[in-house]
């Protein structure tokens, strides 16, 4: 094997030396420094290490000279790296030459998920009105999810709640209403709570459907509670959420666990009830926002509360639907993609 040319070796070493200053100038932090150190000195792949491998190929006569060249380079690199390390520890001083018009440091912070922001907004309105907050399990039994809420077995009303089952008895709760039962079993009236949480339906995801979504349930049980209170409280809540001038509409509906039942519509904020071709309200001028009603006497009986002594009202609202309507969000799936470009917008709300 021919001995490598000493002169070429010197040129190669000088070339490395020439690049050294630029390489050091480009280092900004400890990680960069470490990377540079590895690039030169790594025990396996460092340039210097590889050059030492080359050294072995020199003939005995040239070896000392080549070795000296290489050791000089190595020392120089080590010194430069040490100096660099020191300088990295010294904060950059804002001397007179600094351009003050350069942008300020861009600080970042994390943002709450939009669903939590809406959920908290709803919670705080009800908390101000004296409501407590409760929660309950997401895996429920048929009894709490359906039967106690006055859905008899084999009743077609169950078809309106497409259910994900685990077995004959266990299912993913289709609404937050089972928590009503759990609370009423444990606490004597007066009860005044809201129940935010995840609920599940057997839905194939599309722009307006999700197999999991958030609901906020509300329940008031006391003596002398009337439908007028239901109306007053929900009207106030919706005005707080959407604005003082908001028009609301209560219309009859059906839920097995309330009687009488009411669906609550709010005026379409997209068209201001003016566009017969509005895509948001379908030209009706109204948007369905929540379901509600007076607690069904059978539900009270199921939890041993005397419906002659007590009355109550309840409501349930879909958080995503409400947020989508409020902000013109076209697709419910955006909430679960967790695209930070989407979620981070809402902390500015």
């Amino acid at each position: 094997m021919p001995s490598p040319d000493l002169e070429k070796f010197r040129i190669a070493i000088d070339a490395h030396r020439a690049k050294l200053a630029d390489a050091c100038a480009a280092v900004r932090d400890a990680a960069g420094l470490e990377e540079l150190r590895n690039r030169y000195l790594s025990r396996k792949r460092g340039f210097v290490t590889l050059l030492f491998e080359d050294l072995k190929k020199f003939e005995a006569a040239d070896k000392p000279a080549a070795g000296q060249l290489l050791n000089l380079l190595k020392t120089e690199i080590q010194e430069k790296l040490a100096a660099l390390e020191e300088s990295l520890r010294t904060p950059a001083a804002g001397g007179p030459g600094v351009d003050l018009t350069l942008p300020g440091e861009r600080l970042t912070w994390g943002a709450a998920h939009p669903l939590r922001i809406f959920q908290r907004e709803i919670e705080s309105i009800f908390q101000e009105m004296g409501f407590g907050i409760e929660d309950g399990p997401e895996i429920e039994t048929d009894y709490y999810n359906f039967e106690a809420l006055n859905f008899p077995p084999n009743h077609p009303a169950r078809d309106d709640w497409d259910t994900l089952y685990i077995n004959d008895n266990l299912l993913l709760r289709t609404h937050t209403s089972p928590v009503q039962i759990r609370i009423m079993e444990k606490h004597k009236p007066p009860i005044r709570i809201i129940i935010p949480g995840k609920v599940y339906r057997r839905e194939t995801p599309d722009p307006t459907h999700a197999a999991m979504f958030f609901q906020v349930e509300g329940l008031v049980v006391d003596r002398n509670v009337t439908f007028a209170h239901l109306k007053g409280t929900l009207e106030y809540f919706l005005k707080r959420l959407f604005g003082d001038k908001l028009k609301t509409r209560f219309r009859p509906s059906f839920f097995p666990f309330t009687e009488p039942s009411a669906e609550v519509d709010i005026e379409c904020l997209a068209c201001g009830q003016k566009d017969p071709a509005c895509r948001v309200c379908g030209g009706t001028g109204w948007k369905e926002i929540l379901g509600s009603g007076m607690v069904d006497p059978q539900v009270f009986k199921n939890v041993n509360i005397d419906p002659e002594q007590y009355s109550g009202w309840a409501f349930g609202l879909g958080v995503e639907r409400t947020a989508m309507f409020a902000y013109g969000i076209p697709d419910i799936r955006y909430f679960y993609e967790n695209d930070l470009r989407f979620t981070r917008q809402f902390h500015l709300k």
Binding site: R106, P137, D159, H229
Partner: protein
């Protein structure tokens, strides 16, 4: 439910513009968001109906609501027929063997029907319902269903052996080829209509093909019956069939109306040349009494929050078909008509009154409420925790609770997943046993959409089977960190995500909840690279794990590493008692700060050093921390250089240098004895 305006007008006069009609229907709970206008001037509404109101599943029922709403009376209904001199029972023998599933069965025979296309009026009705006209007999049976909500079935009498009509449970092994061309396997819990030999229809669900009406049919047996709703529902679910008939039967047919529906069908067939047998077959062994309820005026006002005038209450209920008799002072005895299967309690009557009184006329009252219930402390703790993570630059995410079983296996949580019996997708067939999968999906999504810095956390439930019969839902905290920590700056570039940043974020955030310090020990886990993971312990109990996610797992999720992640059993932690908050006065005397720099063998962990110092209970030592670490080639082989800062203070008096010296010496002695540390040149002391 499709409702034709022209058809409605056969039952009640409607004299108002369409929009007014729709608005007023909405306010009694019949909402219609879609309608179409037909070329011949009819309007077909698509009205939403409720599971408890089968009476609104026909034009007559909707007309009844409109009549109560407007005050226009329902028109008289007549069903003229041409009668044969032969009694029905002489032509066909009808028997109900299982009356529990068939409380009422009625029928007529119509002979000599000329099958052909329906007359125009009937065709239009069928088309308005979105169906294609078939022939006059089939169309007539559909017309009765959509007119009245009562399903009718028509048999070709010549195909009914006997002719005998037997209503019974199916026998084991019986089968029937149904009108939709499928073979239905019948079971003993299903009710059938059979002839002398075999089933000819699945009762209330679907007819048999063989006994169905064809172009050759001449004599027809009309069935108008009522079947047990739960049985119908079970049968149609087992057979996976949905028909207009079973949709109505499972919601509850009007037991009082079956004879009129039969008469109506017979009348239609007579208009096609048929002649009807004499006398209705009506098997109704236990005639039902009308339900009687008590309605109190005061209770109505108490529930609605408004006093509805007694006269209005009486008028509304009568218009809806109830019979109302004043009883004791301020109350009525109300008889419920058979078509209102939904009315069972006083509250149901009050809803009827409210519907027609108008929800908009009930006042809106905000009650004055008592004191605020305290918020559960878990929620406050979770709120504080989240706030900490926001400060540290972590974004909150919310993922669905479902997981892809194939991918979840890779994460190796060792938990037995809860499997869904009827998932909406095979990729969402189990409930998540860890938050990590969702966080990695989020990482991929954001990387694919140009976001490199992904520092996210989620607080949510994970699910598993604790044993054969007990499932658990565990509130869990998960964090994932990948990419640069912060935005590019001209002044200094951001660091990259790393283990200790994540660890620090976790410690600081949990510290804000006032829990005792976490302890760590090296751990191996399928989700994390070998040697990169630490188990997280709280007072000796393992509550989580953190480390660098295996590159291969990132790849499985389509994400690019390095990614660092942690998962903590937050629910377990929140059950522990957090320290109480107590104010401490700020020290009035200065501290003495001393740094020590030393070499220590690489296999000595900081946690070892920390514990040793803590155990030494050094006098005046207030706090200490690592302030620098170097593991480069300038060190002696196998050694790491550590610089630690110690803060000494005597709360009572200014600490003397000699006192600090003594404390420092004790630390040095401890560390030398335990770890053979060597002070670096200029390393202090």
């Amino acid at each position: 439910m499709k409702i034709s305006l022209n058809w409605l007008r056969e039952y009640v006069d409607i004299e108002m513009p369409r929009n007014e009609l729709l608005d007023r229907l909405t306010m009694i709970g019949l909402i219609c968001e879609k309608w179409t206008e037909t070329p011949d001037g009819d309007t077909v509404f698509d009205i939403e109906t409720y599971a408890n109101r089968p009476d609104t599943l026909g034009h007559l029922g909707i007309a009844r609501e409109i009549s109560a709403m407007t005050g226009f009376p329902l028109k008289e209904r007549i069903h003229p027929v041409v009668e044969l001199p032969i009694p029905t029972s002489e032509i066909v023998e009808v028997q109900v063997l299982d009356e529990d599933l068939c409380p009422r069965y009625t029928g007529f025979v119509v002979k000599g029907v000329k099958i052909g296309p329906s007359p125009e009026n009937l065709r239009k009705k069928i088309e308005a319902m979105g169906l294609k006209p078939i022939n006059n007999v089939v169309d007539a049976s559909n017309a009765v269903l959509f007119a009245t909500g009562q399903p009718i079935h028509m048999f070709d009498l010549e195909k009914v052996a006997g002719p005998r009509v037997v209503v019974r449970r199916a026998k084991k092994g019986e089968a029937l080829r149904t009108l939709d061309g499928k073979n239905a396997a019948l079971g003993p819990d299903m009710l059938v209509i059979a002839d002398e030999k075999r089933p000819v229809a699945v009762a209330g669900v679907i007819g048999g093909e063989e006994s169905g009406i064809t172009e050759a049919t001449r004599d027809v047996f009309i069935e108008s019956a009522v079947f047990d709703p739960a049985s119908i529902r079970r049968t149609r679910k087992a057979l996976e069939i949905q028909t207009d008939a079973c949709y109505r039967f499972e919601r509850g047919a009007d037991i009082g109306f079956a004879p009129e529906a039969a008469a109506m069908a017979a009348s239609l067939l007579c208009s096609f040349g048929g002649r009807v047998s004499k006398g209705l077959v009506d098997i109704y062994p236990k005639p039902r009494k009308a339900k009687e309820l008590v309605l109190r005026s005061l209770r109505t006002a108490d529930l609605l929050g408004v006093a509805v005038p007694d006269a209005f209450i009486e008028k509304t209920l009568v218009a809806l078909g109830f019979s109302v008799k004043p009883s004791a002072q301020g109350s009525w005895r109300v008889l419920v008509p058979s078509f209102r299967v939904d009315i069972e309690r006083e509250a149901d009557l009050i809803e009827e009154i409210a519907r027609f009184f108008g929800y908009d006329r009930i006042p809106a009252v905000v009650a004055s409420l008592g004191i605020l219930d305290p918020v559960a402390s878990d929620r406050l703790q979770i709120g504080r925790l989240s706030q900490q993570f926001f400060h540290f630059g972590f974004d909150e995410v919310v993922n669905a609770s479902f997981a892809d079983p194939d991918k979840e296996t890779v994460l190796g949580t060792g938990r037995r997943p809860v499997t869904l019996r009827n998932p909406f997708s095979v990729h969402a067939a189990i409930l998540r046993t860890t938050l990590l999968g969702g966080l990695l999906v989020n990482l991929r999504h954001n990387q694919n959409h140009g976001t490199e810095a992904v520092h996210i956390f989620e607080i949510g439930e994970v699910f598993s089977w604790a044993d054969e019969s007990r499932h658990v839902e565990e509130l869990t905290l998960g964090l994932l960190s990948a990419g640069p920590l912060g935005l590019p700056q001209w002044s200094r570039p951001p660091a990259a995500a790393n283990f200790h940043h994540l660890k620090g974020s976790l410690e600081s955030a949990l510290g804000a909840l006032r829990y005792a310090m976490l302890v760590y020990e090296p751990a191996e886990h399928p989700s994390f690279e070998e040697g990169s993971a630490l188990a997280v312990l709280y007072k000796g109990e393992r509550i989580g794990i953190m480390g660098r996610v295996r590159d291969a797992i990132c790849e499985t999720y389509g994400a690019a590493g390095p990614a660092f992640a942690v998962e903590i059993a937050l629910g377990v932690l929140l059950e522990k008692k957090a320290g109480t908050f107590a104010y401490e006065p700020s020290p009035k005397v200065p501290a003495v700060v001393r740094d020590l720099s030393f070499f220590v063998a690489r296999d000595v962990s900081y946690q070892d050093i920390k514990s040793a110092v803590e155990r030494a209970a050094v006098k005046f030592l207030e706090s200490f921390d690592v302030i620098d670490r170097y593991a480069g080639p300038n060190n002696p082989p196998g050694q790491t250089s550590l610089s630690m800062r110690f803060v000494y203070r005597n709360p009572q008096a200014t600490l003397l240098a000699e006192e600090a010296d003594k404390s420092e010496q004790k630390i040095l002695k401890t560390l030398k004895a335990a770890f053979k540390i060597e002070l670096r040149k200029g390393g202090g002391a």
